[in-house]
Amino acid sequence: MSYFSNISSAITTLVDGMKVTMGYFVRPREHVTLQYPDEVWPIPTRNIGVGEIESYNTIRSKLVVDFEDCIGCKACERACPVDCIHIETFKAGPDEDIGTTKNDTKIKLRVTSFIIDMSECMFCDLCTPPCPEDCIRMTPDYQFISNDNVKLAVTPEERWRDRDHLIYEFSKVSPIERAQRQADAEKVAAAKAAAMEAKKAAAEKAAAAKAEQEAREAEKARAEAATATDSEAPPSPFISETPVDSAEPTPINIPTMESAPEPEPMDRIEVPMETIKTPEIPEVKPVSTETTAEPETSSEPDSSSEPENSSKGETENG
């Protein structure tokens, strides 16, 4: 009998299972799987609690810098707990006018490089409050995917290649200008260092002369004392340590034009302009099957790369 009950239970359970799968088969599958690049979930909005700025009413995600307003004060760099902001500034000359920010602050520093390493950023939002110009801020764009594997920014050796697309360069200063600024700064620094060294050398010379004189005087005094009494005078510490021939600048610590790191940024000059990421806030669209544009592509440096491509295409066609 257990034979037949076995068979009948087998049949009933199989039919039950088939009912279940058929139930799922005919069920509408509208919101089961999100077709990600075509449709995205609406971004939750909530105030992250800094001021009344409208754009702050958002989730904490990708950072952007309104580069025109940045005065290069490095307050954000100092605030960052993980040190993922790297700013390079050069002082503008006294007669140079770089411009003013939206708060009418005169920009005194030329920011040649403003890198945020998004792969290290933990989206703590600690860098935005200190900014005096409100120019570094968080955007609701959470999509960091990218199709291009090109190097987007400087890649020191310690960076991994596969993170390259997460290193964002916000500076609008071209690599050529940046190299120029660096070279100028090196020159100024070298001149300054040379001047310092010369000054120091002169001071040392004077000191040496003075010490020599003192030593001579001490010798004299000792001789006098020796003749007067047999007591020993302490030896002067200056005699052995003072360099006599320090009038010429020593090669140490003086960067000359040969040792200045000029050739190194020359490599970077080769980097074409379109490979540098100039982030913009992409429009993240709410769920809809009709949106076809990837949000990521809209954050690509359209302005620089597209005309290039199209002109190339035209020349090829021609």
């Binding site: 088939m18 279940v20 058929m22 799922y24 088969f25 005919v26 509408p28 599958r29 799987t33």
Partner: protein
């Protein structure tokens, strides 16, 4: 069909000089190529459908990215498979390793020679068609054993051995089940079997429900036999829940473990060719083949009206269950019903036999196989043997005797 094709070739003035034997050979080649193209295209379509069906049964979406709704996904997969490196393990038996997949493919493709797609569309009208198909399709297991042995891999060998044991076990009930049908018809010719199922009649001869004269409605025994055959055939073509030769969770991929690229694609091709073959055979033997389910055009109208009623009930049921309105089955059946009532030509076309009905029935059976596959868990080896020897084989023997008694009771045969 080959004769027709040869005559058609010879009817052209330019070609008529080639002689009957050359024309015959040419048409043989054309028909073989057509069958192969059918099998290949069929595999590509079925893989896509299978992935979609499995996805829907698991509340997924399935392939969506390549082409609209992922329709080109399997084409892309096939192209990828063709480009793949052809790896032969160093310690493999090279000869068997190379010919194994081809044996499987050839064995599953040549069976289509005897399948009648419609009353004229068949490659070879053999008087032993059923026997031919059953015997040739069991050559597949030879290729599987070759492939498993040649791979020199324990998983492959286990898979091959299981496959051999499985086909030995299930060939018997399948054969006996088919013999029950052959006993009714008195012929092994598939065309004769289909022609026997023309027209409509009562369910099980006495119950007054007008149904087509298909063998599944011939008697309770053949009704059971249809399911017995479906189960046995599922086991023969190594589909889930009887896929122990390639059971992924136990044997990596069974006899396919060492194969890659094109050779693996051949396995896949033959797998779907076999599934299609089983679907065709079930629809030929039990569901009337290319016969229309409707006797005449009035029957079409009434039949579709009934189907629409069922669809309305189904829609209401789904609405009550899930709270959603699924209009597609209802809309489709409504459109067809209105068309059948408005255009008598359409109704007559629906009532006429043809390849359309063959493909519809086979498609339904293939869907059923997929439904099985994505519902049932795999059987253990000993359970498989239990099902075959202790359940299905006695059942098929009872069916055979029962059919004989039934025919004597209904007066189809006299002593």
């Amino acid at each position: 069909m080959i004769q027709l094709l040869a005559n058609w070739i010879l009817s052209f003035d330019i070609l008529s000089g080639m002689g009957i034997s050359v024309a015959w050979g040419l048409s043989l080649f054309i028909v073989a190529a057509l069958i192969f193209v059918f099998v290949a295209a069929n595999a590509i379509v079925l893989v896509y459908i299978e992935r979609k069906v499995s996805a829907f049964m698991q509340v997924r979406l399935g392939p969506m990215r390549v082409g609209k709704f992922g329709t080109l996904q399997t084409v892309a997969d096939a192209l990828k498979l063709l480009q793949k490196e052809d790896i032969i393990p160093r310690s493999a038996d090279k000869v068997l390793f190379i010919i194994g997949p081809w044996v499987i493919l050839v064995a599953s493709v040549v069976t289509f020679a005897a399948i009648p797609f419609s009353d004229t569309l068949l490659a070879a009208n053999m008087n032993i068609g059923l026997f031919y198909i059953v015997s040739i399709s069991s050559i597949v297991v030879l290729g599987i054993v070759m492939a498993g042995w040649a791979s020199n891999n324990k998983w492959s060998l286990y898979g091959a051995m299981r496959s051999a044991a499985q086909i030995i076990s299930y060939e018997i009930p399948v054969g006996i089940t088919l013999i029950a049908v052959v006993a009714v018809v008195g012929s092994l010719n598939l065309q004769t079997i289909i022609q026997e199922q023309a027209g409509t009649g009562n369910l099980f001869h006495w119950i007054p429900i007008p149904l087509p004269n298909w063998f599944i409605f011939h008697s309770p025994f053949l009704f059971v036999a249809a399911f017995v055959y479906l189960i046995g055939a599922t086991a023969e073509i190594n589909r889930t829940p009887f896929d122990i030769p390639e059971s992924e969770s136990e044997l990596v991929a069974g006899f396919m473990t060492e194969f890659s690229g094109l050779r693996w694609a051949l396995f896949f091709l033959s797998e779907y060719a076999n599934a299609t073959l089983v679907a065709f055979l079930v629809s030929i033997v039990f569901l009337g083949g290319w016969q229309s389910p409707f006797a005449d055009y009035e029957g079409t109208q009434i039949g579709f009206s009934i189907i629409t009623l069922v669809a309305i009930m189904w829609t209401l049921f789904v609405r009550a269950k899930t709270g959603r309105l699924s209009v597609y089955p209802l809309g489709l059946s409504l459109v067809i019903t209105i068309a059948a009532w408005l255009f008598p030509g359409f109704a007559i076309w629906m009532a006429s036999p043809g390849i359309f009905w063959m493909l519809m029935k086979a498609g339904g059976i293939i869907f059923m196989l997929m439904w099985f596959r994505w519902t049932f868990p795999r059987l253990r080896v000993d359970q498989l043997m239990y099902v075959s020897w202790k359940v299905i084989l006695p059942l098929s023997l009872i069916n055979l005797m029962g059919v004989a008694i039934w025919m004597w009771l209904t007066g189809e045969i006299q002593f």
